[in-house]
């Protein structure tokens, strides 16, 4: 069953067409990678699906319900989480306070004005558990902006997972990381997304081929190919447009 599906999606920025007839499908439980050269429209596709933009034409379905143009908070509430290419945490809040925000949302605590947050033991305990699981318990009370790059990126991904979404969309979670950091991050992602559906944008081919069940290749705003990692590796059109260029580098 498809958990996420787009039908004939178009998007443009002041006439510049960025997405062109995108029919994108993600099956429930799979790890799906979106790859493509810079400017292929990967992040725009994410933005159109997760409610940052409303597509010019076409429809988006999540769990068989139409969600075209739905606002981010609504999507988060029905089980879609996302992380960002440019780290987007609460920079002045501590690691603990960052994740607590997600836990509050997960528990549906939005307009509680009658209890002190510090006194809500279940929230505190659950947040501390999450911190342990992602190996950030040593940085519990440090402002997010002071975390090392790798740890800050881990927090970014963990924040997307903190609301316990069914589908999580990760936008280049390992961008700018060293080899070691990338390795740690991939393990973290694998662990956190266990039993969930994940869509991931990546440039690092090692990460993609080790993590993804299926790959969609975007090129100049169109879907060039969809398939398993092996199928994509062998696909001539993909080689010409993208992989060949990567290998030459």
């Amino acid at each position: 069953m498809n958990i996420l599906e787009t039908k004939g999606l178009y998007h443009d920025f002041s006439g510049l067409e960025v997405l062109f007839n995108i029919n994108f499908q993600v099956e429930e439980g799979e790890r799906h990678a979106v790859i493509g050269p810079n400017g292929a429209g990967k992040t725009t596709l994410f933005n159109v699906i997760t409610g940052t933009y409303t597509p010019r034409r076409g429809k988006v379905f999540f769990k068989n319900k139409e969600i075209t143009g739905a606002k981010p908070h609504r999507l988060a509430r029905i089980g879609m989480g996302r992380s960002f290419q440019i780290t987007s945490t609460f920079s002045r809040l501590t690691t603990f306070q960052n994740l607590r925000m997600g836990i509050l949302s997960k528990r549906g605590i939005r307009f509680n004005l009658f209890r002190k947050l510090d006194k809500m033991k279940t929230i505190t305990n659950e947040t501390d558990e999450v911190l342990k699981r992602i190996n950030l318990d040593g940085e519990r009370d440090i402002p997010a902006s002071l975390l090392s790059y790798g740890k800050h990126r881990s927090l970014e991904v963990s924040l997307a997972m903190s609301t316990d979404p069914e589908l999580v969309m990760l936008d280049e979670p390992t961008a700018g990381m060293s080899k070691d950091e990338t390795h740690t991050a991939v393990e973290l992602i694998r662990r956190l997304t266990e039993g969930k559906t994940m869509v991931i944008i990546e440039h690092d081919m090692d990460v993609i081929f080790s993590l993804a069940d299926r790959i969609t290749v975007l090129h100049l705003g169109e879907i060039l190919a969809v398939g398993t990692p092996n199928e994509i590796r062998e696909n001539q059109a993909v080689k010409d447009a993208y992989l060949g260029e990567m290998e030459e580098e």
């Binding site: 509050l104 939005r110 947050l117």
Partner: protein
Amino acid sequence: MRDKLYKWIPWVVLFIVLIIYPHVAGIYYTNFFVRFAIYALFAVSLNLLLGYMGVLSFGHAMFFGTGAYMTAIVLTHIEGFPLLPAVLVGGVTGGVLALILSPLLVRVSGTAFAMLTLAFGQLIFVAALKFREVTGGEDGVGGYPIPPLSIPGIISIDMKDQVSFYYFAVVVVAICLYILWYYTKTPFGSLIVGIRDNAMRVSYLGFKLSHTKAINLIVSGVFAGIAGAIFALFQNLVSTIGVLDIGNCFLPLLMAYIGGIGSFFGPIVGSAVLHVLEFLVIRFTERIGLVNGVIFIVVVLFAPMGLVGLLRMVKERWFTRSANQMSTGTSS
């Protein structure tokens, strides 16, 4: 247990000081304190937007002013209107105004928010000036009866007595400040801080931005309105210049910045500093704004987190230094 006891000591001392203050200080200083308390509440309500949500309001006097006006008008036209409802009328008016403006204000932030609040503030200022039949124009509304604080059949305290009014004002302001402090500690309060840091992420985590911002705006408006209502009861005169003018928009801003927008208590300290300053400066010159402005520039340049922020920094350095000294002392 002992720690808890120590924590209470400053509050008990403060409580006792507040009780004996009017009997020691005399009427002039008693009224001086009431003014400080009113503006402390006003500045704290502004800081819910400025320090907590991260938006700069250039028109906060509209909530204070409409609250003050409505209390004055109600007391003028309704005979025997009781005291506490008169205060509530001010709060409700400030809140309703915030509610009316919220559909526009929650959509913007940054400069646009500052300009929009400035525009609405001035709009209401001019409207109050022109709507002479109700607001009295430049003369304002004055001379209305100040109702006593009464519980029918049990007690009736005359609020024209300045010492009694001092106690009333201090209690109301203290209760309001406690409510606001508690508010900032709730899950909702933490959401507001999240919006300041990264509004987009707050919405991607499943919180509806517009509603959250609107509620904070309304809470801020309600308490600014209550401050205005106490002001109306205190002065027995409400006029546009004084409650709705641009000076009254900037005063709480100065207080918040000088005291420190990063702390709940900062604006209270700011109100105290500006009031004491005014008291000292007025002996030499009437140009208080000039002195306030210079202080503001100095604070922004050298202590951008305000006096409370400066105090925290000094305290931290002091602790690290004495900790270092202790460790070198033991090692040598």
